[in-house]
Symmetry: C5
Subunit: 261 residues, 5 copies
Amino acid sequence: MPSEKEQREENSISDPYLFLAYDHGLGRGPEDFEEYPQGADPAYVIDLAHEGKFSAIALEPGLAWLYRDEIQEKNVPLLVKVNGRTNFSQNSFLAPQLCTVEYAVGTLNATALGAVVFLGDSDEARMLRDLGHIVETATQYQLPVVGWMYTLEDYKKGGPGDPRRMAYAARVGAELGCDIVKVHWTGDAESFSWVCEAAGKTKVVVAGGIKTNTPEEFLGIMKEARDAGAAGVAVGRNIWQVSREEALETARQLRKLFPEK
Amino acid sequence: MPSEKEQREENSISDPYLFLAYDHGLGRGPEDFEEYPQGADPAYVIDLAHEGKFSAIALEPGLAWLYRDEIQEKNVPLLVKVNGRTNFSQNSFLAPQLCTVEYAVGTLNATALGAVVFLGDSDEARMLRDLGHIVETATQYQLPVVGWMYTLEDYKKGGPGDPRRMAYAARVGAELGCDIVKVHWTGDAESFSWVCEAAGKTKVVVAGGIKTNTPEEFLGIMKEARDAGAAGVAVGRNIWQVSREEALETARQLRKLFPEK
Amino acid sequence: MPSEKEQREENSISDPYLFLAYDHGLGRGPEDFEEYPQGADPAYVIDLAHEGKFSAIALEPGLAWLYRDEIQEKNVPLLVKVNGRTNFSQNSFLAPQLCTVEYAVGTLNATALGAVVFLGDSDEARMLRDLGHIVETATQYQLPVVGWMYTLEDYKKGGPGDPRRMAYAARVGAELGCDIVKVHWTGDAESFSWVCEAAGKTKVVVAGGIKTNTPEEFLGIMKEARDAGAAGVAVGRNIWQVSREEALETARQLRKLFPEK
Amino acid sequence: MPSEKEQREENSISDPYLFLAYDHGLGRGPEDFEEYPQGADPAYVIDLAHEGKFSAIALEPGLAWLYRDEIQEKNVPLLVKVNGRTNFSQNSFLAPQLCTVEYAVGTLNATALGAVVFLGDSDEARMLRDLGHIVETATQYQLPVVGWMYTLEDYKKGGPGDPRRMAYAARVGAELGCDIVKVHWTGDAESFSWVCEAAGKTKVVVAGGIKTNTPEEFLGIMKEARDAGAAGVAVGRNIWQVSREEALETARQLRKLFPEK
Amino acid sequence: MPSEKEQREENSISDPYLFLAYDHGLGRGPEDFEEYPQGADPAYVIDLAHEGKFSAIALEPGLAWLYRDEIQEKNVPLLVKVNGRTNFSQNSFLAPQLCTVEYAVGTLNATALGAVVFLGDSDEARMLRDLGHIVETATQYQLPVVGWMYTLEDYKKGGPGDPRRMAYAARVGAELGCDIVKVHWTGDAESFSWVCEAAGKTKVVVAGGIKTNTPEEFLGIMKEARDAGAAGVAVGRNIWQVSREEALETARQLRKLFPEK
């Protein structure tokens, strides 16, 4: 058995980042699981994170708590997304903070922290204030913070994101102190490289987005993003909305695109 | 006399769950008691919880405080619903938190905690924030949390609930870390089984809802819900809006449907 | 000299309750004192509370502080109403909390605590949250809490209150943990007895309301209320809007209606 | 050198009150200083407070901090107005609290505390809540609190104030626990004496208001106010909008009107 | 190696002030960096601050954290701007606080603190409340506070600022306790000298504003401002939107205009 310190070090994440995003149950609902119902089972997806050798699985605090045994057993690094919203309120994109950083670290044993900001929403200021506080607290624990930097307009249409807005969104994450930001793909490598440059030291991971027609299409975009400077990818639906074999193959291809340094 | 620890263990609840819901005095008013006035008396209903061998009685913190002697005397496990709203404000479904978790546990001697969220309300974010905090605190006490996961639209029409919305509501409870969620019946077993699947490890209890014409009709629905995967039922009006004999008979039938494991 | 403990016990209040309400200076303004200006003087009214042997005088925290010497000298039990609003804002009935329970107990030496809730106001949730917190804190000090349970519609027309709404208002007070609620008279004994029944263990005192034409008229209503189950009365204008003799005579009659047990 | 305790006692204020109001730079802007620019200099006005033997100078916390040396050197008693608003927002009269009572006492060395409430504003409840908290905290330090009790309607037209509203405003200050309230002059002695009576033990100081045509006119009003029961005056523009000689002469006349007891 | 105390003293700032403003990535976005992309790199701009011998570089807390090594290595005094907003919400100018003063001082090693207030915004009161708290806390650490005192109307048109509004804005900063305020240039020396006079002891630095056509034009305005009483300048775009040589030449000229005392 590794010591707590060894365990923590073993679980610490580093560039490049392959995040398995699994916060859709809160943000979009089980509708996302209808076509491939096994994706509704957190235990199944935690296992995919393990087998697919993802850098971390991104979970809302509730699932992280209820599935703590599975996470620990598979030794999957955990990214706790400490805020979130549902899709019931079409008029509000305020994502309330759902747990404290202290809880995510001390009780849930998080390896990294995440939070979403919907830029352009009437409650943007509240989310920025929360994110500032999350970063401030996270620095005490030396844990990286991942900012889901979404712009309202682009989020609503489901991406790709407007290049200037994506660059701005990434920069906001840097100005707030995020180690990593997740933004939408801009549609082409040139504009995305400006996004990465605008983020300075902050690493940019590209949102895996909606399920593409073929894995090849998806991987083609990821390759473009990598060449433009992306430090990784946060992928969800292209993993748990396909068969286990396809999912693990996609994960394998992503690891080839973003090999460990 | 059992020790405090023994008492707590004795009162701890486990699947299946038969909750006697009695928070209607706040949420709907004494109108619910007019036809059968004895139901207005918390002491009477606490006794029903005892005689009917319910897993717990769900009370707002005020009644739990004022009737602490009766609850202790009958040794009825207590589910404190820590938030709630009245029906005076038709335009707002914000259910403010009415006591702290510390108070529910330390002073009221709660066996479980409950909280309602009205999904789709303009104050949904506030209720989710509160629920997140309740779960975070409850984990320190190792107490289960029951989420009354209501969708505004379905609540207003009094159920049955739209299947997709019920699945989403149940999932939100899981993403927030509820051990148990209470949702409306969807109208058929097939759609309700998806609700239960979408909730993952989180147990689903079906809302007893409005008083049916006959106990048989009510029990028929409960049987369907059980077969679809429900882990129990939260029943109120079908217990304290009928005679004591009927109430205890219904409780007995429910225990048969959901036998102790 | 009695010890602090003896003093506290001496001042503790019990059923029946004759409260001298004197929070009108905040809620309605000195307009209420114009016809009988002596009523504007808190010292005079504190003396009436003493001479009239009222269970307690209800004061906002500021007067309780400024007149602490008079209150102590006359040994008048003190009910601190910890929230309140003015009548300057016709569109808002939010009654902000004006002092903490700790201050009311520790500094003002309160025997009981009070708070108003305007049910149906757009800020109702905030007032319920505050009341919940007040009750939670008050239980630590074993002090009774009196809920001024007003419904917006009935308060605006000045009473009498709609029977169903009054029953609901009283029940809300019970669900929140008030030991005593103050509600408007419903107009007849039958409906008022349902109000008292709906409140369970929570005692109901009837609001003395506007000054009646004659003391007899007022006392007649109080007698009806008592017979319907009221545990007392909160009277203001019928005391300090009349001569000292009339006031003390009314108090004497009230004590006869609600004799000490 | 006097000890801290002696210093505090030396600086303690008592009836009658001659306050030099100098919070206009925040509430109205330097426009007030244009005609007589020396009035823009806090050091000059602090000196006037000293030479004019005012009971205290009323300052916002920022000036009290930046000019702490001048205040200490001249040994001028300090009334820290702990909240305030600017005139940039014509639609909002919310005066946010700008420092804590602890800071005003411990760091700024305040002799008295002040706060404004705009009665009738949509944020009135917030200001009352703040004032309640200020009074509660101030009682721990045994410092007097001065309430700037303004009614929105009368403030906007610049006074004189409607007699009934002024009486209500003064009473609100008393109900909140202010030792002193500052209200607008009502226009005649009879109505103002009712204002003073309605305030009970709370002392009433009259707002010096806009610069009158002649000092005589101003002093005439002050004399009327005194005869009606005012315990003093809070004067600003009639002091620092005139020459130093006129200012000190006005101060001398005010001391004659309100001689030390 | 200097001790922490020596380091702090070495880094302490004094009149005159040459601030290198670099908070545009949050407030305006990377659009500002498009023409001269090197300006997007905080490391580059930190180096400019060092080479240009600026009094301090103004950074949002996130960049101050991520570039702490570069800041320390170059020994650049750090002004942490503890609040800020993005330009995504055209309707709201609420700049939420993004970190605590304690964090800015203890973790980020700030030499000075800054905060923006948008006077005239519907959330002005919230920003004033925050600024008051920032000043109160900063006095405990004896750190200077710089107020970005912007008036909504003038900010939106990009300056120059209306003279009366600028004087008012500067005064508000003084009333709140800012050691230094940053305001827009008024267009002429006479009106700007009134701005400086209205600020009392509070030092006024002029906002460098938009990039002028030539450095001469910019320096000409700065000279006027200095002669009118400005204690320095906060310049951004005229430094990192030009070549390195131009930037350092501008810095050199500014040091000549505002020589160390």
